[in-house]
Amino acid sequence: MKSLLKRTGDFGITLMGVVCLTFLFMHWLPGDPAELYAGEEATVEDLAAVRQRLGLDRPLPIQFVQYVSQLVAGDLGDSLRSGKPVTMEIATRFPLTLKLAALSTGIALVVAIPGGLLAAARPESRGAKLLEWSGLIILATPVYWLGLLLILAFSVSLRILPPGGSDSLTHLILPSAALGAHTGAATARMLKASLVDVLGRAYVTTAYAKGAPTWRSVVVHALPNAAIPVITFLGMETGKLMGGAILTETVFTLNGLGRYLVTSIAFRDFPAVLGVVIVMALGVTAANLAADALCALLDPKQR
């Protein structure tokens, strides 16, 4: 329990770091947002007025303190592009990204658990070798190219699945497969390594010696213990999943957080960029904490 509290503190510090870093970076963004939003024919006075409205005329430290005090109250400021609160813009797009992430993780687990089990149970078999190489191939394939190839195969050639564009379940199959493949391959490798380690332990040998069938030794005795590092790993993978979601949503034209981030960068809408980055970092932090809590439940040594 104590370690979990310490981890929460660590994550709090990390989040503060993320806010500082992104805030600084956003102010280095090339191009003056005021010029962009005042229009082509803006006079010097117009520009000054826009800067004042956006709060850009104040010194950077004051802007930062203002931003953080708003942030603590749950306010991410207004989008420069739409004028609406960033929290609202994010709230309308968040469910789609969450759905995409959940579906991808589901697909990843469906592939990774049997794959990892098989590879660990018979590490020298041809099937295990084949799995290992296909895992490597998937890991080396960029997620957005995989997405394009899936569109090419299932939408252009076979014409059985839509190439994204909406958030209905059939529209999410290809994007989640593209996004989940990477996590699935990485998790299978992790699970295999973890299982091989656990299978060598005394209590598994004891189970064998007592005459338990192989599958029982693996599934009942080894799997729960091997799962602990894998759950921690899955928590860390959410960071990659967020990065992948940015690209996947762009490929499949899904209106989630990732695509919102990309268009906001193009429009120099820095309150929106800052807001999305903070929400994504918060999501990754929450997933890591949840994974830690789950591990603490599974592992009697951590209680």
Binding site: V18, L21, I151
Partner: protein, 270 residues
């Protein structure tokens, strides 16, 4: 094991092909990767254009070869930058310890906890488009892992007898780091560098895929994929060719990284 040697050599061969394509490739063919010829748009592969032409009539093979050069500069030099800063910092703080070490590790942890692609994206957005800036963004997203690994290597080596012996003989810290610590950390750090380059290749091309890479009309694999996907239905070639180049290259660095990793581990066990 046999397969371990295989991944190392296959990786090395793929990287050699990539290096050749990046250095010699653009000189072998005579086509100009930027010469626009609208009347030749979407020509299928022919003897004049072995891989055909793109939407503006530019030679696809020539553009892919130039893309290899850009990818090489951005990922290898970018990771090299990150590695130099990261290893320097990691060994220094691991060796000196104390408050400096705690502060540096906290900083590295903050950067590592931040999703890598998001970190590179924010850095690339702030720096603006351009090859040099993309390189810095790649370096920025790779350096924390080098700090972490080289620090733990330095810490464990510091306790070795030969380092203690060098100390007793009055060797200076700088001498110990250069002559004893660095050579002994080469294996794990090279493995890390290869894996980081593989990640950098997909990250950098991903950034230019969403418009944060070298400005158009640069023959960059990421922006070629972005342009080509508009013609995915009629001319999938425009998406397949740069994608295969990208995949083969990043696969090469992955395999090399795995291979070095396995080799150093097996010598450590002996």
């Amino acid at each position: 094991m046999q397969s371990r040697g295989v991944s190392f050599s296959v990786g090395l061969i793929l990287i050699l092909i990539f290096a050749l394509a990046a250095t010699v490739g653009p000189h072998v063919t005579t086509a100009d990767p930027y010469a626009i010829a609208p009347h030749k748009a979407f020509h299928p592969p022919s003897t004049q254009h072995p891989l055909g032409t793109d939407e503006l009539g530019r030679d696809l093979l020539e553009r892919t070869l130039h893309g290899a050069r850009l990818a090489f500069i951005i990922s290898v030099v970018g990771v090299g930058l990150g590695a130099t800063v990261g290893i320097g910092m990691g060994i220094w703080v691991g060796f000196s310890g104390g408050q400096v070490e705690r502060l540096a590790m906290r900083l590295a942890d903050i950067l590592l906890a931040f999703p890598g692609f998001l970190l590179a994206l924010v850095a690339a957005a702030a720096l603006g488009p351009g090859v040099g800036n993309l390189m810095i963004a790649v370096g920025f997203f790779s350096f924390p892992s080098f700090v972490r690994v080289s620090r733990s290597l330095a810490k464990s080596l510091r306790r070795e007898d030969y380092v203690a012996a060098a100390h007793t003989f009055g060797a200076r810290t700088r001498h110990i780091i250069w002559r004893h610590i660095l050579p002994n950390t080469a294996g794990p750090l090279l493995a890390l560098a290869a894996l980081r380059i593989a990640a950098a290749l997909t990250t950098a091309s991903g950034l230019s895929f969403i418009g944060l890479g070298p400005p158009l009309p640069a023959a960059d694999w990421g922006s070629m994929l972005d342009m080509g996907r508009a013609y995915l239905w009629e001319h999938p070639r425009l998406v397949i060719v740069p994608g295969v180049a990208l995949f083969v290259t990043s696969m090469g660095f992955y395999l090399l990284g795995e291979g070095i990793h396995d080799r150093t581990r097996s010598t450590a066990q002996e």
